[in-house]
């Protein structure tokens, strides 16, 4: 669970139109038993990306030359809803994405992303619509993300601000794992547990 520190970067972005894209589309369930070590990037959007014979579908956005090397994914409302499978985040991150932009996310996916060094950015729907339009018109167009300043700059130079929890921001910037911090609080947890047992009359 080591996480690479997040630095400001500029990268080509993928326009992924459609609302309510569920995690079954991002990573079909039959790949859930694959080992983590093998990587999940190869299965990203598998059934949209490949036909029944494993041949790439020409019409799918990620298979088009200008989008293959994208590193920022721009979706729409309720992106990655549904199943809690963290494998959906692993598939996106393993493929090479560092940022996912949407107007809203499935709650569990949002939280899973932060824990894997994948930055989820919430922008207003008008912004994601505009970004998708630009990226669709100009394959390979670049977006810049500055986590420190909490800004995202569109290919045309429009600057959008976004919110992020200060703690998550700190962890992403430094590549810190949240579990280490939690483990440093074990005394508090033990004490809480004792008090809770007492208040419920579970111990003498």
């Amino acid at each position: 669970m080591t996480v690479e520190p997040f630095e400001t970067f500029r990268a080509p972005a993928l326009p992924f139109a459609g609302i309510n894209v569920d995690t079954d589309q991002i990573l079909p369930a039959r790949f859930l038993s694959k080992p983590r070590a093998g990587g999940f990037g190869q299965y990203l959007f598998h059934d949209l990306r490949f036909d029944e014979n494993g041949v790439e579908r020409e019409g799918f956005v990620l298979n088009q030359p200008g989008y293959r090397k994208t590193r920022i994914l721009v979706g729409e409302e309720n992106f990655a809803c549904g199943s809690s499978r963290e494998n959906a985040v692993w598939a996106i991150a393993d493929y090479g994405y560092r940022v996912v932009v949407a107007s809203s996310f499935g709650d569990i996916f949002f939280s899973n992303s932060l824990k894997n060094g994948l930055l989820p950015v919430v922008l207003p729907a008008e912004a994601t619509t505009a970004l998708i339009a630009t990226l669709s018109r100009e394959p390979g167009a670049m977006i810049e993300v500055d986590l420190e300043a909490q800004t995202l700059t569109s290919p045309e130079g429009v600057v959008y601000s976004f919110d992020i929890d200060p703690f998550s921001k700190h962890c992403l910037l430094k590549g810190i794992d949240e579990l280490d911090y939690t483990l440093s609080q074990m005394d508090r947890i033990d004490e809480f547990e004792r008090r809770r047992a007492e208040s419920q009359g579970l111990s003498a």
């Binding site: 309720n78 199943s83 709650d107 899973n112 508090r188």
Partner: protein, 477 residues
């Protein structure tokens, strides 16, 4: 606890949250104490993370496991699971549970079943608790008056190691359903009607408390069905205030507080966690139960749902361009044309089961429709009980005989056709009437077409070979 006046009226969410809050971080996230951690055969990565960090489960006595996602429903022997990958997932759970002293209901144990069926069934899930599991349908357990939600594998690893979780407190939303349900209308129809009203992202960032006379009138099993699909409305969790129905359900179960002093103390604690009368929710939604009809989904998102007496809708009539495009794609995938009566859509498969509708009352309501009828020629119909004990109970009541005589397959407990992780899937292009919870593209198998509905509606589809208004087959009582 002091008995002084409360400064602010609190919701059930507020109270359970406050009781489990260990500390708050500067950014407003709370370290929440986890009472119960339910684990399943998808946990191999969590144990690998734990071991890579040289950590051990901190509270194995608060952790309960059962294999459900990768188990076959035509046999109970792990070694006979054909796929090595799936077999290893089940074996990893068994080995880790044994190594760390975690209570496990193994495949060969009659108490094995879907994790969200056995938690309540065993009395592991109780009112007032925080309950987590790396599965989005953990919201099911909220029906008992608990705060229960799904987490990812990294979070599950932290729960194993510390019995805690960092969470930002969600907003609160109350959905009140009032009035009497119409004939043939079930809990499944209520939750589908709720999602139709608020949309699949309608409750993102919220915990839903279901309330109102209709909800209070439901059995515990109906409440479990409602809370189960909270995630399909985008909610973090769903919950229902504990009441006499809840206490009667929990009492006497294996892991419930022992009758006598412990039980009385527990009920006293539980009765205090309900929402104060003057508490304010961030959002309120109301539904009239009398307006809810038996529902079916026709598309590939939970918003694609309609009463069975309706028609496949026309994308051209959609309110937005995005919705029109989404509907067109869904209809193409589903092989349906606008204007087709829903009750004319023929089915190839029927699946009665899952954490949504795999409990005994679900099987009873399906059997009541099937009794004296036969599965339509050409339809393959399955009943997959939610647990070994549900199966036993059904057999004691003779329900297995009703299903078998009609031509259903009567199978062993597991997640099975809900998501096909165990290899049991619906073929590409085939259409399945299913009591599960998601109609997503490929959910039941690559290219499979899913129509979600209640157990009695699925039973009706099995005997007629098409989506059917179950009220036409029921006589009423």
């Amino acid at each position: 606890m002091s008995s002084g006046p409360r400064p602010v009226a609190m919701t059930m969410l507020d109270k359970i949250w406050a009781q489990h809050s260990i500390l708050e971080r500067a950014d407003g996230q709370t370290l929440l104490y986890v009472d119960r951690h339910l684990i399943h055969d998808g946990y191999a990565p969590a144990f690998e993370f734990l071991q890579a960090r040289q950590l051990r489960p901190r509270s194995p006595q608060q952790t309960f496991g059962t294999p459900d996602h990768y188990v076959p429903t035509d046999g109970r022997i792990v070694e006979r699971i054909a796929s090595a990958e799936r077999r290893d997932m089940v074996k990893s759970l068994v080995e880790n549970a044994n190594d760390y002293g975690i209570t496990l209901f193994e495949l060969s144990d009659r108490r094995q079943g879907i994790v969200h069926v056995i938690g309540p069934e065993q009395g592991i899930s109780q009112p007032g608790m925080t309950i987590v599991c790396a599965d989005s349908h953990t919201s099911t357990h909220g029906a008992l008056g608990a705060l229960a939600f799904g987490v990812g594998m990294t979070q599950a690893t932290q729960v194993l190691a510390t019995q805690t979780l960092w969470q930002r407190k969600p907003k609160s939303m109350r959905i009140s359903v009032e009035g009497e349900l119409g004939f043939g209308v079930t809990a499944k129809d209520i939750i589908l009607a709720i999602i139709r009203k608020i949309g699949p992202a309608g409750a993102v960032g919220h915990v839903i408390e279901y309330a109102g006379s209709t909800i209070r009138g439901l059995s515990m099993e109906g409440r479990l069905t409602i809370c189960n699909m909270s995630i399909e409305a985008g909610a973090r969790a769903g919950m229902i205030a504990p009441d006499e129905t809840t206490y009667a359900y929990v009492k006497g179960r294996n892991y419930a507080p022992a009758e006598g002093e412990a039980w009385d103390r527990a009920v006293a604690n539980w009765s205090r966690i309900t929402t104060d009368p003057d508490a304010v929710f961030d959002r309120e939604v109301t539904l009239d139960a009398g307006e809810i009809a038996p529902m079916v989904t026709w598309g590939t998102s939970l918003e694609d749902v309609a009463p069975i007496d309706g028609n496949v809708p026309d994308p051209e009539a959609a309110a937005t361009v995005e919705r029109r495009d989404g509907m067109s794609k869904a209809l193409a995938y589903m092989g349906l044309s606008p204007g087709t009566p829903l009750a004319e859509i023929s089915v190839d498969r029927v699946f009665i089961g899952s954490c949504t509708n795999g409990r005994i009352e679900d099987l009873r309501s399906a059997a009541a429709v099937v009794k004296g009828r036969s599965v339509h020629p050409g339809v393959e119909a399955w009943v997959v009980p939610g647990s070994g004990l549900v199966k036993e109970q059904a057999e004691a009541e003779g329900l297995d005989g009703i299903f078998l005589e009609a031509g259903f397959q009567w199978r062993e407990a597991g997640c099975s056709l809900c998501l096909g992780t165990n290899g049991e899937t619906v073929a590409a292009g085939a259409r399945c009437a299913s009591t599960s919870n998601r109609n997503f593209v490929g959910r039941q198998g690559r290219g499979a077409r899913t129509h979600l509905m209640s157990p009695s509606m699925a039973a009706a589809a099995a005997v007629t070979g098409r989506l059917t208004d179950v009220r036409q087959l029921q006589t009423g009582e």
